[in-house]
Symmetry: C2
Amino acid sequence: MRSQNYSKKRQAIYELLLSTDTHPSADWIYNKLKPEYPDLSLGTVYRNLKVLEENQVVKSVAVVGGCERYDARMSQHSHFVCKRCGKVEDIFYCEDMTDLLEIIHISSDHHIDNYNLIFYGNCSKCS
Amino acid sequence: MRSQNYSKKRQAIYELLLSTDTHPSADWIYNKLKPEYPDLSLGTVYRNLKVLEENQVVKSVAVVGGCERYDARMSQHSHFVCKRCGKVEDIFYCEDMTDLLEIIHISSDHHIDNYNLIFYGNCSKCS
DNA sequence: TTCGTTGCAAACATTTTGCAGTTTC
DNA sequence: GAAACTGCAAAATGTTTGCAACGAA
């Protein structure tokens, strides 16, 4: 991790991500914080999301309609994406990654670090 | 499905996708077909990929470095993405979708149509 | 005072689209 | 001949970046 200063805006972005389960896009974060930080710029949101991702306290969980969606919940879980409204929801299940890898009997020459499991469909409101 | 004419270029795009396991991007397809179809344009590749996707004979399997990657293999399987070189490889395992859904004990209010399981890491060459 | 951080706007890359001409049936 | 398809270039979109000013330690 490269040396970093404490920054109010970075903190605010991270805390906003921690406080929501909407898996927001950069733009959503920008609009949400703009009232409290009128001089915030979208570039700063993108830059900080990247830094937070490098620091492994945030990750991108899906791309919905061309937009990266972020999550500050770092424990292993999956997501449901509504194909109609674009909502992204957490999906929990009883196995952790090791178990899933065992269960599905993967054989691969490659070194697997992590995985991303996304379910697609229509959410209950959109059905 | 909307009414469609037979088109040589659409056919060529589809056959190229069928013949490869590299999970190519639109640009890769364009460059591969350009010698044989010198008047091919990138817009046509994008337009046809969209049509083929709507016809459910092709699907987008991953976004790597901001590029959509396509696959004409429609049976349920997963993918490995090398974080270093961007290679996308098929991963097969012994369960089909129903089984995976059962195995991981998902409970959700939503109507799940399909899922996408991507493994990330470094491929054997990049390790 | 040093160096990380930011706003701003321009640059970028991928994808989409309008239109006029072409191909398919 | 009607409707689908295409090339081309322009536009749209989401994201990144250069730079000068600002902020934190």
